[in-house]
């Protein structure tokens, strides 16, 4: 715990960099969760399972169809997103008039089913997925694998693009309007239910995209999502439920906080996020970037 003095600044830079890399995954996952919550008012507990599906679909594309990583990066999110749309039409759409709790429980149940099915099909220890960008560069303070650099850059791009679409385009303004007054927007001739369905599909696609990105870095295993979901959930809450920018910034920020904890008090690195969450909620009830209403 008192190794602070013993840690040279280079090592610290290395840990900050790693924190940023992990933050990229958190940001991408919490972005999807925040989009879905912001526009549908559903706490999507299936998010972890959909992330896992993204990774598995990438694996299947590679091993069964021969589609490489770069193709999977586009195809897997589309397939999983389409699957999400089916789920939304079949189940979720029946729950919009109810409390958040029911949406949460329904998606939790769906997550259990998906996880169980994948486990019975592929086993519990998971599958290997080759690294599409082997090698790396020595930054002086650490060895940065090319693949990790790509993950950070690409997810940053996706996050900013999503933010731009929702906050700065006409489509985004329709979306935001539909969450405030669906009846009015409907009256203006916009097909609100379809918009909501597509939004859910998009959020799920983001989760699957994170899954494809994770496949070469982590093991592709049925439980990869359930280990992560509760942390990502905390990220969204800290950022302010439904705040797009908040979830992105918090995702990266908490990645760094977690990275630093791994140096100074490694045992607590899985818990530190909850400490931050408790403090934030007690000081700023609506989260860092949320607006209290």
């Amino acid at each position: 715990m008192f190794e602070l003095i013993g840690i040279p600044p280079q090592a610290l830079f290395g840990q900050l960099m790693l924190g940023l890399i992990n933050g990229a995954f958190y940001a991408l996952l919490s972005l999807g969760l925040a989009v879905i919550f912001g526009l549908l008012n559903v706490i999507n507990f299936t998010h972890g399972a959909q992330y896992m599906m993204g990774a598995f679909v990438a694996w299947m594309l590679l091993n069964w169809v021969g589609v490489p990583y770069w193709g999977a990066l586009i195809i897997a999110p589309v397939l999983v997103g389409a699957f999400g749309i089916v789920l939304e039409r079949l189940f979720l759409s029946r729950l919009y008039h109810l409390d958040h709790l029911y949406g949460l429980l329904l998606t939790f149940g769906l997550a259990l089913i998906l996880e169980g099915l994948f486990r019975s099909q592929f086993g519990s220890s998971g599958l290997p997925y080759g690294n599409p960008l082997p090698g790396g560069t020595n930054l002086g303070f650490m060895f940065l694998p090319w693949y990790r650099a790509w993950v950070v850059g690409f997810s940053l791009f996706v996050c900013l693009a999503t933010w731009f679409v929702i906050e700065r385009t006409k489509l985004g303004s329709y979306l935001r309007a539909a969450t405030e007054r669906p009846d009015l927007v409907q009256a203006f001739g916009v097909n609100v239910p379809r918009m909501i369905t597509l939004t859910y599909g998009f959020g799920v696609g983001l989760a699957a995209l994170a899954g494809v990105l994770a496949a070469p870095a982590y093991q592709v295993s049925p439980t990869m999502g359930s280990n992560l979901i509760i942390i990502v959930f905390a990220v969204v809450v800290i950022g302010g439920m439904g705040s797009i920018l908040g979830s992105v910034i918090t995702g990266f920020g908490l990645g760094i906080v977690e990275g630093l904890t791994k140096v100074f008090y490694p045992e607590a690195s899985a818990t530190v996020i909850f400490v931050v969450m408790a403090i934030v909620l007690l000081v700023r009830p609506a989260g860092l970037f949320g607006t209290a209403k």
């Binding site: 919550f37 912001g38 008012n41 706490i43 189940f91 029946r94 729950l95 109810l98 409390d99 958040h100 709790l101 029911y102 429980l105 329904l106 939790f108 149940g109 769906l110 997550a111 259990l112 089913i113 998906l114 996880e115 169980g116 099915l117 486990r119 019975s120 969450t179 509760i230 905390a234 809450v237 439920m241 439904g242 705040s243 045992e267 607590a268 899985a270 818990t271 909850f274 400490v275 969450m277 408790a278 909620l281 007690l282 009830p285 609506a286 949320g290 607006t291 209403k293």
Partner: protein, 328 residues
């Protein structure tokens, strides 16, 4: 964007209006239930029944908070598991008798409840749930690191000493009746709380907190007290469970346990008097008898969630009550 703060019970059947006449009926049902439970060991395995009773009490305690105050706690495992650790530790390491161990565990849960409650009740809705979750995760970490909890192994092999120096608890059947008595006591405490003037204020807070405040009630104090009662009884359930299974482990404080109790209450019927008992019985039975399905347990459990949420949102007891209500 959290403009829709619909109370969680928006859809469930409001408590029957004729409170006075339902009290007698409820107590009759409860009496019948106790008789049934007293005879149950003849056909069913007593340890299984004890597990059901412990979780039923846990779910009842949880339901007090969500069903009657409208607060969804996602951290109740910390009271359940914390009390389990305390009672297991005092009985095993300090040689206390089980009844003292259970009391110690329950008391600690109450104190923990007061601390957590005073922080958490400042927030509402989903944020209340998140604060409790965060604090529970911190408590989990404490249990993981603290030397006395035995880490991953937990506290195992807690001896079953005679209760009050009289009742030999190494016989499951004897212990079963002790647990049944604890359960009945817990139920009556909760029942009394709900049907007292205090409980009426709680319901008023659930329905419309600003109005309750404008009527001059210090709602925070009411909420805190309800939280402490709920935590204490959850602790009673956990402490008893530790004595029954001679074991306290991290499972009891993990967030999945908090989720499980939400599930039990929901399946049985949120805000109903008997719902949590039925829900606990159904879920524990399922876990017990589905264990033979091996890898399919979670899939089946997930499917049941989906079906309950889509078709039986009021829970088993809630749907039953609604059905009977339609008939008459």
């Amino acid at each position: 964007m959290l403009k829709t703060q619909t109370p969680i019970l928006a859809e469930s059947p409001a408590a029957p209006p004729k409170a006075a006449s339902t009290t007698g009926r409820d107590l009759m049902i409860f009496g019948g239930l106790l008789l049934l439970l007293a005879a149950a060991p003849l056909v069913l395995y007593p340890v299984f029944l004890m597990k059901v009773l412990c979780f039923a009490l846990f779910a009842l305690a949880f339901n007090l908070l969500i069903g009657y105050v409208g607060l969804l706690s996602f951290g109740h495992a910390m009271f359940f598991g914390g009390a389990a650790y305390v009672s297991a530790y005092t009985v095993k390491a300090w040689g206390w008798t089980p009844e003292l161990g259970i009391l110690a565990g329950t008391a600690c849960a109450g104190v923990l409840g007061a601390v957590v409650g005073s922080l958490a009740i400042r927030r509402q809705g989903i944020y209340f749930a998140m604060v409790t979750l965060a604090l529970a995760q911190m408590f989990f970490f404490f249990c993981l690191q603290a030397p006395f909890t035995g880490g991953e192994d937990g506290i195992q092999g807690v001896p079953r000493r005679p209760i009050l120096g009289l009742i030999d608890t190494t016989r499951d059947i004897n212990l079963y009746f002790v647990v049944l008595a604890i359960f009945a006591l817990g139920f009556l405490v909760i029942y009394r709380t709900i049907h007292s003037p205090f409980g009426q204020v709680l319901k008023a807070i659930r329905e419309n907190e600003p109005r309750a405040i404008s009527l001059g009630y210090r709602t925070d104090q009411y909420k805190l007290l309800a939280f402490v009662i709920s935590a204490t009884l959850a602790g009673l359930a956990g402490a008893t469970k530790a004595v029954v299974f001679q074991l306290a482990s991290l499972t009891d404080v993990a967030w999945q346990m908090s989720g499980e109790v939400v599930l039990m209450t929901l399946v049985g019927g949120l805000g109903t008097v008997f719902g949590p008992i039925v829900g606990a019985a159904v879920i524990i039975t399922m876990q017990n008898y589905l264990a033979g399905f091996g890898e399919w347990v979670l899939v089946i459990q997930g499917a049941i969630f989906v079906v309950v949420v889509l078709l039986f949102r009021r829970g088993i007891v809630g749907e039953l009550a609604a059905f009977l209500g339609r008939r008459t």
